[in-house]
Each structure stands twice: as C-alpha cells, then as structure tokens.
Symmetry: C2
C-alpha cells in the first residue's frame, strides 16, 4: 500500500470535507479519520476520489483504535496531520465542559501522541477566534494577550494550542496553528444561517432572531478556507499562529436575517430580542486583524457578505 | 461544624504549606485537600493550628471522592478556593504529557466542577511563568502574546488558565491567576538548589552543573509569595492575570552554585557543560516584567539572590 501523505482527523466534518476536496487535487494519498458525530460521510464519499482517499471510522480518544491505525497504514516524516477534530457547536458546550474537554482538547492530546508514535513531524491545527473571548469589537491580532476565552470551546482550543507548542519543542518540526473565524458553506450543520432557514421552514411568517441583530462577525467561506489552509501551510515553517479572516469588518446578524428572508420568504417579519448577546458564550461583535495572513500574500476570495450569500443558496440546495 | 472559608487544593505541597501557614493568621477555617504525592504532610501538621486547619487526603481527579467532599464540609459563596494542585516538577513531565495532563490540567477541570457544584464563586490559581516559553531574556509582561510554552507543564498551566477564563464567564465572580516565577524556600522538594546540595552530599569535591551556568532566572521566596497571594487576592477583583516576581533580573545558575559551594564545601570544583539549556524544556534566561504587581502596591521583600541564600540554609536545616 502506498504511504499516506495527508491524515485528516475530523475529515468527514464540514471543514474537513472541503479540505479533502481540495487536497485530492494534489494527487496525494489521504486518510480521513472521523467518529462520524456531526459529520457528513455521504458528502465525503460523494466527493472522494476512491484511489486517493481512505476512510477510517474511529474515536480518536480510543487509544487502542488509534494504535491500530498506526499498524494498518504507513506514514513517514513527510506525512502531514490536519487536525480538524473538535466539537463544532460552541453553544452546546457552554453548560458542561465535558463535551469540549473530550472532543476539542483530548483529541489534540491523542493526535499529538499519534504524531510522536509514528514520527510524523508536520501538523496543521484548526484553532479558532474563540480563543480571544469578547474584545468589544477591537480588531484582534495574533499578538493579543492575555487571552480570556469565554466559552469552553474557545478555552479548549487555546489549551490545544498550548499542548501543540510544547510538542513542537519536543518532536514536531512544523506546527501551523490557524485561528478560524466563523466558517460558512456546504455541508455545514449548524450556525446562524441554518437557524434562520430552519425557523422560516417551520413558520414562513416570522423570523425570531437571538439577540438584537447588531452582533457583527467575520465569515469565511469553507472553499476559500480550504484553499488558504493548504497554500499557507506550504509557505510557512516552524511553529506559527495565524488569524484566517476576510479583509472586511464582518456582517451584522440583522443583514444575514434580511438575506435569508429575501431568499426564502420575503413577507416574513423579523423580530429581535432586547439583548446584545444571542446566547451565553456568544461574542456579539468580533473583528479580526488579518494583517499577518495578508502580508504572507493570502486572502479569501469572498467577503463576509459574499460568503453568507453563497452559503444560503448552498444550504437550500444541499450542494457545493 | 463551622463553614470552611478557604479550601487549599495541593495544600500539603511546598507552596501550599507556606500559604496555609499565612492564611491561618486570619483566624479563618481552612480545608487542605492533597493527594500527598510530592507533599510534606509532616511539615503541614507541624505548622497547623488544629482548630482552624482540616485535612483531607484524596485524589482530586477522583469524581466520587470530590463529590464526597461536598457532602462532608460546608461551603458558601464567600469561600475561596486556592488551586495549587499540580505536578511541580517540570522536567519529569517532558517525555510524557500524561503527568501534566492529569496532575496539572485535569485537576483544574475537577476543581472548577467542585466550585460550580458548591456555588463557590472565588478562585485563586497558581499559574506559572512557564506559560511564556523561551523568550531569550525579554522582560515579559502579562500582555505578551501569542504564548508558546515549551514544556508540557507550561502548556497545561496555560490550558488551565483558559478553562478558568471560560468558567468565569459562566459561574465564577472572581478568578485571580498568579503567574509564579521560580519559587524557593522550605519545604521545597526539588530544583536547582536541591540538585546542588544533593550532589555535594554525594561528592564534596565536585559539583557538576547542568548547562553552562549562564542560565539566569528570577526567584521568589515562598514566604514572600504566600504573603503576596493573600494580599493581592484581597485587593483585586473580577478575572485577572498577574506576574508575581522580584524587581531584579534574577540570578545566574553559576552564582547559585557558588553560594551552595560556599556554604557546604568551599574547596569543591564547579564544572559546567558546554550547552545553554540545562535540560529539554528549560528556559535558559528568563526575565519578568512585574510592573502590574508593583503598580498595585506589592513586591517581594527579598531579591532573587536573598531568596536563594535563605533557601540554602533552610534546606540544610530542614526548617522555616
């Protein structure tokens, strides 16, 4: 069997599928490892070139299964681990840290052990803007500190970054940490656009928005993101942290509501709440300083609004 | 039974004992919880006022025992949790992250669950300068970022800070995170001074130093530290992170070697290695920006050198 070049943990999830779709254009072997929670294996199988993409269903936190992976497949120092395995629903982990402890953090520990065991020296990690917490709309750069995450998800992403940093000192040659903004596209499973679409499907006359609609955040489209991950990883080295975001200051929730209503149910009334935060752990206004990414020569093709518009169509048609 | 005012996790360890010694001067009830690994229960019992200090031997990561604690003792919103439970030997955790994952990080998760379960709203946390990694002697402030810890210990301290930050958003009213420098004093159990004393006891003629002796770090004496923890906690609020350090730029390993040799075996030959780092994960030169602490009106009574000199005597005499 050919040696595996790319191992994508969480590769049957929303961002993982977009990454696999782009990676196979390189004509290199890919192993997707996923526990199929909150995943879309149907879409993954649909886009996969069967001669390049292998799939293994397992729980990354199961030591026995992970050691089995090392016996079944062949890896080397040139292999790259893409670590996208995490709980992807921030709100679901607010009440109980166990979800993000297991799915967002302990997966990182397990993946680092996998790298060490197999002498894999290259790691790309999907971190998050959630590590920054609530900064009241200050455009935040990678140098910002100290970090006060307000969700267990953000906390466990920061914890993962820390573990990767120590692993780099010991046995990794390259560890690129990407701090994602909100990512939209197909086949996403939740988030504000899904929320609005689902509500309008239930009641085409009223759209109840969580919060006052003034929440404003940056969005990157998953196809843009996948391109950037691959290209930036190729162009960077050592241990590095990069904000990935659009050049704009984001789009308001009220504008997203209008765009969804315009597409689905033009007469619907949009109702807002009298509070800034949509839910505990939500960051109402988030701006991103992507200077470092841009200075390396990279930027998304689509703005936040363009990414949202494309995503509304993709979710409604269930297609790329 | 009287309500417990202070719960000191890791209270039978080196810093914990110094904290308990000072806390009981307030004449408030104290519960010490410790697994007695790397601890000095003999010293704790020796210094404890029996009417104020209660002791419970348990493993913080044992959910059943921790829930038992909540049934045995009475706590309230005015109680303060002092979280000093951790692996305290950075070097021991370099090869295997399991030690610091369990003892330095998962203890934090367990203690946060304990706070939530018992509606305890106030937490003081012993973090570490190890979160900063190797900054080549730049005087580092709390605002420094991004953080690249180089030891699993530093990584799991940073991970703990992140979890505490998210808990503050949800159910804590006050969370003060103290980033400790190197702490010396009695009854410490390991570190450079112990290393030198043990070597000279084995061979009074030669002292083999790890590294080239130019490693330079800040030291705070444990009695100074305990005073500052209590006083600063009283004077701060909300969620905050503070470097705790001396005003000086530290003391070189070669100077520590001379001080120990001078006290124990004046004719001993001091031998150095031809490398900057004493061990993997060691930070050769570390300077601390304690401006924030000083601006609040606090500083240690002893300099780095004075702290080291007092500690050499204390270790040799096994006494405060």
């Amino acid at each position: 069997m050919k040696k595996i070049k790319h191992i994508v943990f969480g590769g049957a999830g929303f961002v993982g599928i977009n990454l696999v779709k782009k990676l196979q254009e390189k004509n290199e072997t890919i192993l997707v490892v996923d526990n199929l929670s909150n995943s879309r294996k149907d879409v993954l199988l649909n886009i996969s070139n069967k001669s390049l993409v292998f799939f293994k269903h397992l729980d990354i936190n199961n030591t026995y299964d992970m050691e089995g992976l090392s016996k079944t497949y062949s890896f080397d120092k040139q292999s790259i681990v893409w670590h996208l395995a995490a709980n992807s629903d921030i709100a679901s982990g607010i009440d109980d840290i166990t979800i993000d402890l297991n799915d967002t953090f302990l997966t990182t520990i397990a993946i680092l052990k996998f790298c060490k065991l197999n002498s894999i020296k290259q790691l790309a990690f999907a971190s998050s803007s959630a590590v920054y917490g609530n900064l009241d709309g200050i455009a935040v750069s990678e140098e910002h500190g100290p970090l006060y995450p307000i969700s267990n998800y953000g906390a466990m992403k920061l914890a993962s970054e820390a573990a990767i940093s120590a692993a780099f000192e010991q046995y990794l040659d390259k560890s690129i940490i990407f701090r994602f903004p909100n990512v939209v596209g197909f086949p996403s499973t939740h988030g504000v656009i899904h929320d609005f679409i689902n509500k309008l499907k239930q009641n085409p006359n009223i759209l109840n928005v969580l919060g006052d609609g003034n929440q404003q955040k940056c969005y990157v489209h998953s196809e843009d993101l996948a391109d950037m991950l691959i290209n930036i990883f190729d162009e960077t080295f050592g241990l590095d942290i990069l904000n990935i975001g659009p050049e704009d200051d984001g789009i308001k929730v009220s504008r997203i509501a209008e765009l969804v209503v315009d597409k689905m149910s033009q007469d619907a009334e949009i109702r807002y709440e009298d509070k800034k935060q949509g839910w505990v752990g939500d960051v109402p206004v988030f701006k991103y300083d992507s200077t470092k990414m841009i200075s390396l020569g990279f930027k998304p093709l689509k703005s936040s609004e363009e990414a949202v518009i494309q995503t509304i169509s993709q979710i409604l048609t269930e297609s790329f």
